[in-house]
Symmetry: C2
């Protein structure tokens, strides 16, 4: 288990260990013949540089902390995937932390990451409170928020234009002939306020009546969407389409509708938001609004790298455009 160090290689090569270090790091102040010899020896002896010792003196760990509410969630696991790939391509490694379920844990996790001396933090907030929750730490280490819109807070974040997403979604339903569209789901977090706003704006422009349905303590899960939908369907259905604030909620609606033999899209059209992988499954074929997840992740690590490597001081709000993914849960009305 004992690993070979610089000193070992130095002794074997008959040079000082400073020389070995320089040989590996590509320093110009070293002879090309000794460099070759040393590098060959490093190979033979199986030397690998000890990153923790190196971080010690370099004051840089090449580590990025990634904190997400929970990776077992298609949205965040895709996020994590692209973030890790992009980070590693630039020489960084990812330290993964689940911050769920409460704010206390989120704070703990961020503090922990600080102790680990990460060069930067990429965080998918639990909600709008996250900003305040970890504010004490965001000036100690470069941080960028992902997915949640922080409005005009002085912090870098990358998100999608949620408002525009619901806007184009309801416009699409309108073009299909729908005039009674129900907005279903969460409205409390900033993200969901914006989504609701997009719906409202479209309704105003198109002269549609705004109709909402949600419960106070809604979480974005299938089972929660299902429960809400059961309640919704216990009343008369005087609308032709549902705009679910989330794909998970949409799937919950679908389950409830199937149970009650409400035909989707026959009797009721359904559109979601997020385009999680489940949305394109056979039999599901959920029409939805897509978040450019990969691009969000890549942009986020780029922004973070910029802060880390160039010490960029300001903040930037990057808002990407959502897209409409037409599948099978919306039908034309005539």
């Amino acid at each position: 288990m004992k690993s070979v160090t610089l000193k070992d290689v130095a002794k074997a090569a008959g040079v000082s260990y400073a020389t070995v270090s320089r040989a590996l790091s590509g320093s110009p102040q070293i002879g090309s013949d000794t460099r070759e010899r040393v590098i060959k020896l490093c190979d033979e002896m199986g030397y690998t540089t000890n990153y923790v010792a190196r971080s010690m003196v370099m004051k840089k760990t090449d580590l990025i902390g990634l904190v997400v509410p929970s990776v077992d969630n298609q949205f965040m696991s895709e996020m994590a995937y692209h973030a890790e790939m992009s980070a590693r391509a630039h020489g960084y490694n990812i330290m993964l932390c689940n911050s769920g379920p409460d704010l206390k844990r989120e704070k703990t996790v961020v503090k922990l990451l600080l102790g680990r001396q990460v060069d930067g933090i990429l965080i998918v907030p639990q909600g709008p409170q996250t900003y305040e929750n970890i504010r004490a730490y965001t000036d100690q280490v470069p941080t960028v928020f992902v997915s949640e819109n922080l409005r005009d807070q002085p912090q870098s974040y990358v998100t999608v234009d949620n408002s525009r997403g619901t806007y184009i979604g309801t416009k699409y339903l309108y073009e299909l002939g729908h005039r009674d569209i129900l907005y279903f789901g969460r409205r409390r977090t900033t993200t969901h306020q914006l989504r609701a706003e997009g719906y409202m704006r479209a309704c105003q422009e198109l002269g549609l009546q705004q109709r909402f349905f949600n419960s106070e303590y809604s979480r974005s899960s299938i089972s929660n969407g299902y429960q809400m939908a059961r309640e919704l369907f216990s009343r008369p259905i005087d609308y032709t389409a549902i705009f679910a604030s989330t794909d998970s909620h949409a799937l919950g609606v679908m389950r409830a509708a199937d149970e009650l033999r409400i035909d989707i899209p026959g009797h009721l059209s359904l559109i979601g938001f997020d385009n999680i992988p489940s949305a394109e499954l056979p039999r599901i074929e959920l029409t939805t609004i897509e978040q450019p997840l990969r691009e969000m992740a890549v942009q986020a690590v780029d922004m973070l790298r910029d802060k880390i490597e160039h010490g960029t001081q300001g903040y930037v709000h990057q808002i990407l455009l959502p897209g409409l993914v037409k599948r099978g849960t919306c039908r034309t009305l005539d």
Copy 2:
């Protein structure tokens, strides 16, 4: 960005920094009054111990490397979730690496983790070649393999009894009245050899004819399953049930069947393997064999911790039991 160190606190408290260290670490050789005073001061000054410096001297990073082919995969993201939770509960943090798509990258990633001085490695292999691929490193750091059955290789791993899974699955189909069961999918990796074996064993016991369908270069994805299924369905269907080697494959079969108006479960029963989250979605309701994912992850980190903390030298093969999850894609035949 300058953080406060032990030395800073020591100066403020008027003690040596050894004393501060002892106060924090709960060493007995320190007065309780000074301890209190120092701890209070640490709080006020916002001191957090620098883990990289600490790892330096402790020769222990409290870091576990988690390498998976790709986290954006429901199986592995769930794995990652439980592993991270369990690890953190015991004071470890997770360094996440995607090893896909090829073996070279897998090797690179493991080497990188070694340089990071992780205390142990948790690896979901890309396939049976992984063992050989990283063998040079597995004796340098405690390692446990997850999910892949390494047969009698001298390495610790935790997996599920794949053979038993398909065994109980085909028996279940038999009890439902099925006599012509087609085994669909991969057979090349160890895991899938075992799954095929379980099917074969059940067929022998029950006096059923063994029937296989697979293509040489099959990957476990929905689209791949779909392509294979299209080919399969271009020939006469002289079986009443399909046992798909993977839920993803099963979903591909489902897509193809839906397109060709082959009713599942009306005309054809379908059972999968893995119980990925998508399997329980509305309209999908896939009957399948469940891998106890959470338990696998927890057991894996427990095994790893044992190796790390007690220097356990041997290896253990932990094989967990799969379960049958009855849902809607299998019907009784009469």
